[in-house]
């Protein structure tokens, strides 16, 4: 049976091994044979005897404490809660000589016990992490920890992985003998895990981000949206905390309308307002429409002035008309500008690259002359004036427009007729007020692709 020693026995290893490797998958501890062989089940340790050097039993393990939230890839075990007699005390990790399956061995006969006081980043494992939700960033799924695996890495014992398999749950239901035996074949490396715990948000704000948080930010908005939908309320808000508003807003745009409504209603109003304001205007309007009137007004009130005025204006259009699902993000250029100047305008609006596929060209009187595809800007030299560019090929650069009251079907027809990736929405005077991209029309035309959650079956 494998045993793990926390001390000098493994002195050959670099103490800093937990920081080795940068990219996902590199330097993962659970891939190493010696780590896998030394894994101890945290679930099996709960209730296990604590013995001193002489082999005498002095108490029982109640729970394990780890510094979960820090820059370290693999959280170190900082101590244990131990029941000695009737009292539960904190035992610092430094007094632990080794942990084995179902047994903790102490370094000395003298016990240094004190009351437990949570320090920055510390979490109680069995109570706050085991059996709670966490995110597997490799598999991009929300799971519940069935077991936590510990292993000695250099001089410290670290949390190296999590087990989520059904078999492990059954093992924990079985007799004590079997409960402690780890089954590392289905282990998810801690490097790919985003844990949650209640006091995470209450913790010190200086806590550095681990790589997994970066992995979260690299995830596709659609995957993040799925994660947000699967998480419970506190976990969901905690995940939003860790994403910057732009990433979060992108994910929100991909969520099912009902899920998004629930998320916005349960979030702090200030945060909900900030998130909605960061969303693309057309998606933000959809989200606001789904909210009850009072909550909608509250959110608008809390938004920055420019977002509020844009969204209020869009909300005034009926939902099923072009004005109701267009985006107001428009890049504009003038006939007397050069190609280079227009390119410069676009460069400043990189954040909205998903919304801009052409540049609206206005003449001196602010009248709409053309809708210039980005390709044209690439194909012509920076010095060329827009006027000259239009002169060459005005007929196929004529703007494809729809009326602000056009229906989805009419917009679709216009897209098909003109074979453009988007159409401009114009008001009664013919001046452009928004744009509808082909994918927005797809969204509106495709049948509901949502996942059907059970409680909603009855509504």
């Amino acid at each position: 049976m494998a045993s793990t020693t926390g001390g000098a026995a493994s002195a050959g290893e670099t103490p800093d091994v937990a920081r080795v490797g940068r990219g996902p998958g590199r330097g993962r501890l659970t891939l190493r044979r010696e780590v896998r062989a030394a894994i101890v089940s945290a679930a099996g340790l709960i209730g296990a005897p604590v013995v001193n050097q002489a082999g005498q039993r002095v108490g029982r393990v109640v729970d394990l404490v780890a510094r979960l939230h820090s820059a370290e890839r693999y959280p170190p075990i900082t101590g244990m809660l131990v029941r000695i007699g009737l009292r539960v005390s904190f035992l610092d990790a430094r007094s632990i000589a080794a942990i084995r399956h179902r047994r903790v061995m102490l370094r000395s006969a003298r016990l240094d016990l004190r009351d437990f006081r949570r320090r920055a980043g510390e979490v109680i494992l069995a109570k706050d992490v085991l059996d709670h939700q966490l995110i597997d960033t490799d598999g991009r799924q929300v799971l519940r920890a069935a077991d936590l695996y510990l292993a000695p890495v250099g001089p410290v014992i670290r949390l190296v992985g999590v087990d989520v398999s059904l078999g492990t749950l059954l093992r924990r239901l079985g007799p004590r003998m079997l409960r402690a035996r780890p089954t590392p074949d289905r282990v998810i490396d801690w490097d790919a895990v985003t844990p949650f715990s209640e006091d995470l948000t209450a913790g010190p704000s200086t806590v550095q981000l681990r790589d997994t948080d970066r992995a979260l930010r690299r995830m596709r908005p659609g995957d993040l949206a799925d994660l947000l939908e699967d998480l419970d309320r506190t976990e969901r808000q905690s995940l939003l905390d860790r994403l910057d508003p732009e990433t979060a807003a992108d994910a929100l745009e991909e969520m099912e309308p009902v899920e998004l409504e629930a998320l916005l209603r349960e979030a702090q109003p200030e945060r909900a307002a900030r998130l909605v304001a960061s969303m693309e205007p057309d998606e933000a309007v959809d989200a606001l429409r789904d909210l009850p009137g009072i909550e909608r007004d509250d959110l608008l009130e809390l938004m920055p002035e420019d977002a509020r005025s844009t969204l209020s204006r869009l909300l005034a259009y009926p939902e099923r008309e072009a004005g109701g699902f267009m985006t107001t993000v428009l890049a504009t250029g003038r006939v007397d500008e050069t190609v280079g100047q227009v390119r410069e305008t676009l460069r400043e609006r990189g954040e909205q690259r998903g919304e801009i596929d052409a540049v609206v060209i206005l003449d001196a009187d602010d009248a709409l002359v053309a809708d210039l595809p980005l390709w044209e800007l690439l194909a012509h030299s920076p010095d060329e004036s827009i006027e000259a560019l239009l002169g060459d090929a005005e007929h196929h650069l004529a703007p494809a427009t729809v009326d602000v009251t056009a229906t989805v079907d009419e917009v679709a027809q216009q897209l098909v007729r003109t074979r453009r990736p988007s159409v401009l929405v114009v008001d009664d005077d013919g001046s452009p007020i928004g744009r509808i991209l082909a994918d927005d029309v797809l969204d509106a035309l495709l049948p509901d692709r949502g996942r059907r959650r059970f409680p909603r079956l009855l509504q």
């Binding site: 109640v62 729970d63 809660l81 539960v88 005390s89 904190f90 009351d115 437990f116 949570r118 109680i124 109570k127 059996d131 709670h132 939700q133 799924q141 929300v142 799971l143 519940r144 069935a146 989520v164 059904l166 749950l169 924990r172 239901l173 209640e198 006091d199 209450a202 699967d230 419970d232 309320r233 506190t234 409504e261 629930a262 998320l263 916005l264 209603r265 349960e266 702090q268 109003p269 009850p292 009072i294 909550e295 509250d298 996942r451 059907r452 959650r453 059970f454 409680p455 909603r456 079956l457 009855l458 509504q459």
Partner: protein
């Protein structure tokens, strides 16, 4: 874990508080008429309680004991309101379903116990729903050996391939047939004096028949799955602490409404065939609707029974799949494809298969219907204990945890229900050894 400091998850009020006040502005209107017109959650919750098993149990109570069980139903109503309130509070304050809460707050073994109880109770209920479908068709002369397998396949397929939402509305409309019961109560002109005294004066009988039916009445009215559903629905709407009062009001009125319908079934049946012994067939139960529908009573009863059974036939197995998947922590949406959520749909499929198979055994369907409710009644106290323990937890709910008075009251209630179950078990076990009660 007394050495750790807890951060109670109570939060804010502002925006939600205002919403709740608007919701409260016209509560009665909203909860009865508007809901009935819009076929909203309140009505569905009420109707889900009055499913095939419920109808059979209430009708049997009327047929065997006339109005004698009415006072007991008043107690059951109080129990249902209390329990639903706790379930809704758990959902609103934690934002988690009861399955997840049990897994996070109790040991894994206790979680397994809770889930096993829920699964057993719900599988019993699925048996009852298929028995109900069988009974409905036997009323119009079609053998259940044809109907039950087809119905099982149809419900399974509709849920899997996503067309259930549409069928659900049809079932819901069919099940409205049971709203004929309150009309029947008025038309049948029962002895109102006797009804009133039965409602107000405690009236228990020490017979084992009464005990058996009492446990069945608890099981069918305070169904474990309804508590899981109540919490899940609140969470799903994103309703937070500020909306708790509105959610509680909805839950309470829904519960009272369901119990009023139940009492109407008991009164209507009691007035027509009361005192004729335990209910033996669906045809007998249909007699209670004769004042409304005359010779069409059997047809009306069959339609209502079919609607109610088919409605609950999908919802009940889904609720156990949902709770168990939530506790285990795997994919819990009703996805389109089987392989996306094998556990969820596996549990669903097994329940449907077991339910339909047992409903096909050649036993008396009404006996089977009531028997499954006795099983539910025996399991209910275990599930209620979990909910009570969760709602008592200060570290979970903070100031929204059960106060001392509520705690004593709820504990008494759960103890009372448990006592009945224990008595029934004792009675049954003693019965095996030939000891009569």
């Amino acid at each position: 874990m007394n050495s750790t400091s807890e951060v109670p998850q109570t939060q804010r009020g502002g925006r939600r508080g205002r919403l709740a006040s608007v919701v409260r502005r016209s509560p009665w209107l909203r909860s009865t008429f508007v809901y009935a017109a819009a076929l909203g959650p309140g009505l569905i919750a009420a109707n889900a309680g009055n499913d095939a098993a419920g109808i059979a149990t209430y009708a049997s109570a009327g047929s065997e004991f006339t109005y004698q069980t009415l006072f007991f139903m008043v107690l059951v109503t109080i129990a249902l309101v209390t329990v639903q309130t706790m379930a809704v509070r758990l959902g609103a304050y934690t934002g988690k379903g009861i399955g997840a809460l049990i897994r996070e707050q109790f040991s894994l073994r206790l979680t397994a116990l809770a889930m096993l109880c829920l699964l057993t109770a719900n599988t019993g209920l699925v048996v009852a729903e298929f028995a109900g479908i069988g009974a409905a068709f036997e009323l119009v002369g079609i053998s259940r050996f044809w109907v039950v397998p087809i119905a099982a396949l149809a419900i399974w397929g509709m849920v899997l391939f996503g067309s259930y939402r549409y069928a659900e509305r049809v079932f819901l409309v069919l099940s409205l047939g049971f709203f004929a019961y309150p009309i029947a109560v008025v038309l049948v002109k029962p002895d109102w004096g006797q009804v009133a005294s039965s409602l107000l004066v405690p009236n228990f009988s020490a017979s084992s028949g009464f005990l058996l039916l009492g446990v069945a009445l608890i099981g069918t009215t305070v169904s474990p799955y309804m508590q899981f559903y109540a919490a899940a629905a609140v969470v799903d709407r994103g309703a937070g602490p500020g909306e708790y009062r509105a959610a509680r009001f909805d839950a309470a009125t829904g519960a009272i409404f369901a119990c009023v319908i139940a009492a109407c079934i008991i009164i209507a049946t009691g007035a027509t065939i009361g005192g004729s012994g335990p209910l033996e067939s669906a045809a007998e139960a249909a007699q209670a609707l004769r004042p409304v529908a005359g010779d069409g009573a059997q047809m009306l009863f069959a339609i209502g029974l079919l609607g109610a059974s088919a409605l609950a036939g999908a919802v009940v197995p889904l609720s156990s799949s949902y709770a168990i998947s939530e506790a285990i922590g795997v994919e819990r949406s009703v996805s389109r494809r089987f392989r996306e959520a094998p556990l969820f749909l596996g549990i669903f499929t097994v329940q449907i298969a077991v339910g339909a198979t047992i409903a096909l055994t050649p036993v008396n369907l009404i006996g089977l219907l009531i028997g499954t409710q006795v099983v539910q009644g025996l399991i209910t106290p275990i599930v209620l204990t979990f909910i009570l323990a969760l709602a008592n937890k200060k570290e979970l709910l903070g100031s929204a945890a059960n106060g001392p008075v509520f705690r004593i009251f709820a504990t008494l209630l759960v103890s009372g229900i448990s006592l009945m179950s224990v008595l029934l078990l004792l009675n049954t076990v003693l019965g095996f050894f030939g000891v009569a009660w």
